[in-house]
Structures are given as structure tokens and as C-alpha cells.
Amino acid sequence: MLIDLDKCSGCYNCFLACRDEHYGNDFPPISSAQPFNGHFWMQIVERERGKYPKVKVSFIPKPCMHCDDPPCAGASANGAIYKRPDGIVIIDPEKSVGQKEILSSCPHRVIFWNEEKNIPQKCTLCAHLIDEGWQEPRCVEACPTGALLFGDLNDPGSEISKLWSSKKTEVLHPEFELKPRVKYIGIPKRFIAGTVYFKDRDACAENAKVTVTGRGKKQTVRTNNFGDFEFEGLGEGEDFTVKIENSGYTPQSFKVQTKLDVYLGEILLKRSSKK
């Protein structure tokens, strides 16, 4: 599955479709019904980014990653977790009874415990439907914007195959090294933004030069007519220097750390003193 976060509006259709499919419906031998609530086989990680009034919201739909090296399988006894030839990782609802330790084996935390049935449960990519001939799992089918893409990576002609190995795609937590079968486009990084204005004229500073320097790299943008600038896609937790220049005005410089997104607020430029 490929998830294009640049097209995700946060409508939660994928989450709802998963609930709709799995609450009250058993699909042996693939899955047992979800409990009434508390399970998020398709979880949406919702994050507010920035500071007023430069705020955006990012949504990351997060199903089971269907890793090629699934640690959950290693943690399970009795062959309760297996990977199908098509790549889908399944927790057998009968063999997995009582195996609560499986939950903590997943670093992505996408396995949920069903108290009532005493079993661990997670996304099956609706394997029961795929086996019936459905083209897509419920979450993908319900996505109105095309942010979710499902297909056969073994078919080099499929749309997903073409995008899969392109530079645009990335994985969540590559450091886990689990070879996930779910990839992303547009995983939110960090932004540095600000609004520049000229103090003497009380006017938005259009076309001021803004340079951000960090990790030996330098990027430059010009402010727009509102005096706004933004650098998106910067690394997390890195140190940057932001420099704002406009002829006739004293340059301003800031040192920032991108632990979170950074909105520098309103930055006023003063007339440079005449020499």
C-alpha cells in the first residue's frame, strides 16, 4: 500500500471503513470481529503543526506495515502469525489466543488486544475481500481523494509498482529496518516560517530575501506579498540559521532548532542607519 499524505484531508473514511468492515463481522480464517471500540487497525495520527497564525494539520493514516521481516511473527508461538505469499501479514485468530506479548513486539504499535476474545488483532489489508476478488481493501476503496493506493508489487506494470521505488516514497521509521510493505509520500518533516514587515512603513515586506542555512546546505526564498516565507521539508531536530535581508534595511538573523515546526512570528525590519 502506498499512502500519499499530500492528498490526505483527514476525513477518517479509512478508519471508518475498517470499523464498518470488522465490527460485528467474523471472516475466518483471516480475522475475527473487532470489538465495539478502542481498536484502530487503521489509525490516523493527527498532528497540529506550527504556531498561530501559521498552522497546518498533518494526518498520517497508519495501518499494519506488513513488514517483510515482521517482528510480531518472531514473537508469536505456535505459528500464530504468518506472512502470505502476497505479502500480507496475518494473525491467526485461533492460534493466537492468549498471546498478549505479541503487542509489544511491534515497534509501530499497530496491534491491539481484544479483551473479550483474548486475542491480538490488526489490519489484514482486508485479505478476506482480496481473496474474494476485490481490487482494494475497504480503506482504499473509501478514500475519496486517492491518497491511498493498493496494488500488486509483483506486477511491474501496476501503478503502485511505478511509484514504489521512486524517490518520492519513504517509510515510517526506516530505523526499524523491517522492510514494510506500506510506504508513504510526503511524511511531514519540519518547517520554518515567518512574516516580515517594514517597521517604518508598516507594510508587509514583499520580496525580501530569506536564507536558511543548516547542515552545510543553504536555501533561499523570497517573501510573498504578505511578507510570508516558508521552508517546508526540513530535517527534525536540526540547527538552522535564518537570515532576512532587504536592501535599505538592517538584516535580521535567527538561530533556530527544529525540534518542532518553527514559526518565527512577525519579524520587523528597521531602516538601516545612513552611513
Binding site: 483527514g10 476525513c11 468492515e21 498552522v55
Partner: protein, 895 residues
Amino acid sequence: MGRSRPRRDASRPLTKCPRQDREEVLPLTEKGDPKQKDGNEKRIVKGLGFVGIAADANAVEVDVKNGKIIRINPLHYDRKYQPEEFNPWKIEARGKAFEPSMKSLIPPLSLGYKNRVYSPNRILYPLKRVDWNPEGNRNTENRGKSGYVRISWDEATDIIVSELKRIKQTYGMEAVFSQSDGHAETKTVHAAHGCHRKLLRLLGGFTLQTRNTDSWEGWVWGAKHVWGMENLGQMVPLTNAIQDVSENTDLILFWGCDPETTPWGWGGQLASRACYWFTELGIESIYICPDLNYGAAVHADKWIPIKPNTDAALQLAIAYVWITENLYDKSYIATHAIGFDKFEEYVMGKEEGIPKTPEWASPITGIPARTIKALARKWASKRTTIAHSNGGPFIRGPYSTEPARLEVLLLAMQGLGKPGRHQVKMTEWGLYHQQQRNPWPRPLFVPTLQAADRGWKYEDTPRQFIPKCLVHDAILNPPISWWGTTTLSRDPVEKQFVKSTYPVEGCPEIHMIWTDTPCLVTCWNDGNSILRAYRHPKIEFILAQHPWLENDCTFADIILPSNTKFETEDIGIDIFSGQFDAIFPEPKCIEPRGESKSDYEVVCTIAEKFGLLEEYTGGKSVEEWIKHGYETSGAADHISYEELKEKGYWIVPTDPNWKTHAPGMRDFVNDPEKHPLNTPSGKIEFYSERLAKHFPDDKERPPVPHWVPHGESHQESLYHPRAEKYPLLVCSNHPKWRVHAQHDDMTWLREIPTCKVKGPDGYFYEPLWIHPSDADKRAIRNRDVVMIFNERGTVLAGARVTERIIPGTVYIDHGARYDPIEPAEIDRGGAINTICPHHVTSKHATGQVASGFLVEVAKANLEELMKKFPDAFKRPYSEAAGLCLERVLDKDKRQ
């Protein structure tokens, strides 16, 4: 000081409701084999829009097996037809193409609707208020407090028949007040609203609750005086507006508009795709609103936060910049408008000595003057369109007539109707079955089922009526009079100069209410006053019919269980998607839950007791009405009834000539004399002679639109002394996870972080957005339970401390289910409309006010409240679904 939270919840667990009637309706043990196609498995097409007038949306496929709903899917248009059979459209612009999806773009509200069908909040059998005795003491003051007991259908209908007869004999039939409008599941024969009107007509008449234009107030009461545009005051025709925007627009101002919210229940998520498309084309999106709404959160290139209900000041300052910098289309104004000189005088300060400069507007709006100037200059230099999707903060505040009018004037100053310059609506594309309200490539025709609709009719024009926003005064303080609003929310503008009175001479006051729209308390103005009216002794009998026990239902004396569209056979259309119009027979999916009946069947049952069944049904069975609907829908010329039933749906092909229709107001632009507007002059009226003539002394809606911070009708401004006590403004939009009052018990939606806030007491509170700076001042932390209050009452909510709101303003959706701690005083459910302003839009504009009003917010002391109101806090509660049927059953009768 430690920052740890006191553990209030441990000692006081909530009384639990059963989570769901599992045994009865959702046997979890049922095993299904997906590989084994069960003979009973069916796929049924239904409409799951929530407009509620025989014109549905959000077509879905419902998979049903063994009498149980398995799943709800989008409708795949191409499942039974080849795409060429319905001629999919394609918009091409700037070297790119946009095409409809081959599946319906349903919202989560439809996708998870199974949840609502099986809600523990469903009313499963008739109920009677335990201390209401039609033969003796009616205890009307206990409405909202007393419990209910189960009674039989026979007993319930006996009481109803005898009460109707008594009221007719004592007062006359006009003493019966029909509340039967508004939104709901959209059904045709089994119409959710207004089925009882025909029976009341047969019995001799009724008094009508007339819907006001609740999502369009400012446009109807204001903009119509500027540009006509019957019946809403919003731009029509919208024909091919999306194509023109795609080709020509540089900048879209989403002004108080949330394209990721309001369109959902009405027609799904094409608006969302459109926003991504506009961005892909390089069109800039600027959102002007107090809250970073859900559209702004993902689509905005820039968010310009503005204090609620101050848009008029911003608009005037923009006009000031344009006038002083000579940045407007003077020749257009000369040929297409009148009265500009008077507007210019007001803007330049010649009328009252205050020029409407950006510096003047800045403290009012909270927007820096330099940003206002930059916006004005940008707008003037770019082909700009304004987008709306109803119901935002822009259009429902006090004096909403003013921003609505000013917006049209600004659009006119930049050549409204010229390429790329429109007012585009991102929702309600099938309204009134009119092609001209659809900005997308049009279908060959718009199907209709109005002939089969058994609900309310536009022809219902009884001699006595009460506007929905004046029900409280009509009951508590009669006689009352008002301007405009007769029996139709679609009244033409001329009706706004007509004064009406209640009670009408020769008519009685109302003494009985029959509602199939039991949500006035949480959807209209000053809900607490409405509740006081409901408890008045002169209201001798309140009868409610509804599928769910919520809101006004708990003030009724008899409650009849109606059911959902899954439990009946019907016929539907989808005309709001913007993608394709469709028609579909709607077979029954599951058996009615409990003893429920459809709204139509409820009235049939009562009609039968009066011996009026034959007259009421028109001698037709449900099946015959369904067929009649098909025959008169327009589809009969294209597909036989048998084939339609066999295939389950039919798609109306796109008009092959859709491109030939002039976009938007182009005809008016090209020849205003030949294509005049529906105003007295035929042009855009910066000064309304007609308003001047009829209401010469109106300071709240003068002939030239003004900035009106407060006045005779409203004192809801930070510039009014009331703000010392209530220093925060409320911004309240149409809800994200509901359609007005619908869907609040959808348990799965309630798990979404922006939907509810779980309090320390385990209760799911309605979220209140508050900026960190305002929260700090009040020692409020994220997830704290807070009180929102003013003179009209108190509402509890769960604090969501967020950067998504302008400081000095709090945000809360409207429509949460009412859960009184003390009826008409304190609400726990978050029904913010209980404390909305009492009065209508302005003196001569009879709209409602539901946003932009003053409150204060403080951390709630739950322990104190629990001590003071122990019963309210002990009521059974379902953690998953919130309120449930159990909570109102009389304690002694509870199992």
C-alpha cells in the same frame, strides 16, 4: 505546584448503559464464510445524504446478509454500466484534466452509518412521560426532568387521537403546532419530515413552524437586496463555474467557508477533490475565518484569522484601499451597478466622520492593517473568486446581512462575472432540482421524486404560522409580529416587506406540538428559552416521533419510535454529488428495530384510528407510491422499471452539450440590460432604494451596508459593555462530525480526536477550541472540563487548547446532543445553541443568530456540580455512544 491532575473519576464511575443491543441485532457469534456466497446476501443501493427532502445524496451500496448489515460501500457507478453509457465529464484547464471518480465520494457520516442504525439511543417502542396525565395533572414544568414508561402502540395512538379531538373541540385545529421541517435521513415515501401535515389538514388544519434560512441568513436577508439572486441570495447561475475557475481564477478566498465539513452530509467529498485540483492548477487559496477550519488545515496557502462577525469591517477597509488607490473596475460599476456614490461616501467617512481605513479595521478584526492592505492589493491584481459552503462564521452572526451585502459589492468592484471572478458555492449542488445551482458539468436532466414524497410540501400554506427562530417568543410572550418569513423559507424578497403577526386574528394560540424535528434546542437560537416555552402550561401536549431519543424528544409527553431508511422499502435519487445524478429503488435491508415504524407508517397508524387511512394514503400502497415516483422522475424515458429494479440504480448521463452554457453571470456581464438581475434597478445596488423606502429608520440594516457592532437587537460585540463580563466571542460552525443534530451518537466518530474530549469523569464532552493564551489566563489545560456561560445559561465542554483559533475567541460546533444538568439552565452535552442570542438577525430581518456572541469560559468544578445535581450525573451513560435510551426510563421501571 505539581501539574498532576486530581483523580476525580475513580470514586464516581458513571452508570453504564448497555453498549449496544447485541443480542437483538448484532449477533457477534454469527459466522460468515466470505468465499461462500450466501443465498441471502444482497447488495442494495441506498442514498445516505442527510438533507431530508426527497432529494438525496451520497449513494451507497449496502451489503446485507441474514438480516444484518455487513458493510456500507461507496456506489460504484460502473458496476452495472459501461462508463460510455453515462458519458463521464472531463474538465480541462491549464494543460491538466479533472475527472469524476467512478465511485461515490461518500463522507464518514455515511460510511459508518450502520453505527447509528444500531445505536443504543434508538427508541424501540412508544414511550409516555411518567407524570403526564391527559386526564389529570400534566406537570408540564417537569418536561426534561421526568422519566418515561413503555406503552403499547394501541395505548399511544388512543391517547393521541383523543387529545387531537379534544384540542380541536376546545380550541380549533390551529392550536396544533406542526414542527416538521429541517434535515434528516432523506427518504421519499417514508419521508422523515412532514408526514403528519396531511393528516392535520384532513382534520381541519394546523399552525406551521416555518423554517428560516438557517445556513444562509445573511445572504437571504441582506444580499438579496443587492443582487436579487432568488431564493437564497447566493450567486446563480453557478453553471460551469468550476470550469471557469479552473481556467481563469488566480485566487480563491474561502471566506468563512469550510469545504471539508459542510458539503459532507449534503453531497460528499467532491469539494475536497476540487480543492486539491485548484491547488494543482496553481490557484492560491486564502482562508479568512476565526478558526483554522478543516479545509484551511490542509488546503490553505494562507490563513487570515479574523475575529468572529467583524468581516464587515475588513470588507469596508478593502473597499477603502481600492477607492483610495484606484484599484477597482470603474467601468463595470458604471454599467452594472447603481448607488456607488453613497457607498463611497460611507467608506470615506463622509457619512459619520470615520473613514474605513485598514488602520480603523485592524483592532476591530484583529488583522494587522498591513495585511489588510496586502490582501486588498492582491485581490485587485488577481482574478479572484470567493468560495462558500454555507453555515460558516461569516453568515450566521448578529447583523449577518452586512457582510453578506458587502461581499457582493466587493465582488462587483472587481468585475463580478468576468472570467475567474465569481461567488462559488461548494455544496448543495442539487438544491431545488435546479440545474443552475450546479457549478459542475451538468447532467442531461435532474431527476425528481417529489410526486412520491409523502412529507411536507411547499404548498402547505396555512393561515397561521410561526418562524422557527421565534417559537420561544410566540409561546412565552404572545402576541408577536415580525417582518418577512411567511410559510416558506424560499419566500421571494418582496415578502420581506410584509409584516406578520401571531396569533392570527380568529386563530387560537398553540396548545399542542407535534414534532418530527425534535432538535430545536441544539440547532436554533436561544435554546434555553425554547425549553422554557416547551415547559409552559399552555402547551398541553407534546408529541414527538423520531428514531433516536435526543434533544427535544426528552421534553415530549408521548414519543413514538420511527425508524431508519434501512428498515423500509423506498426509492431515492442522488442529485447532490456533483459527479453524477442517479436514481435507485431502495429495498428494505433489515427488519424494523423493536416496534419502530417509518414516519409515514406512524402517521398511517394514527390516520387509521381516525378512519382516514384511505384519504391519507391517497389509496396507494407504499409500493405504488414508489412506482409512481419512478414514473414521474424523468428516468422512465430512459430505463424500464424492471431493469431499474434488476440493476439497482441508473445513472443520468452527462449532458453532451454541457460546455455550451455560459459560465456564472457571464450573460449579465455581457449585456446587463438584456439579462438584468432581480433587483428593482436590474443592477447591483450599492444603495437600496427599496430598503430606504420601507425601513427609513433602520440603523441595523440601512440602505448602504454598514459595520454594525451592536444595536437595538444585539449586544454581542467586544465594543459593548457586556464584553467586560463576557470577554470571549464564540465562533460556531456547522459541525464536522455531525449534520446539525444528526450523528452525535455514532460511537466510531466519537473516537476521533477532534470529535469529543473524554473528561476525567469518563464523559465524552463536546470540544471547545481555545487558544493557549486564553487558556493560560483561566488556568485551563488541555482536556479540562470547562463551563461556557453568559446570561442565557451554561454549557459544559472539554477544552482543546489549540493554535487553530484566533485569541479572544473560542470555537465550538453546534448540534451536540442536549444533556441537561438543570433543564433550560445548565447543559452537559455541549449544546451551545442553548445560550445563543435570543433575537433575530436584526429588527427587520427574521433570521437566526447562532455564531459570534459573547461568553466567558472557566474551568468547571465537576465535584461541586455532582454534589449539587446528583441525579443528572447518575443518569445511565454509554461511554461509546453517549446518551442512551435507558437514561430516561423511569427509575422504578428500569430493569
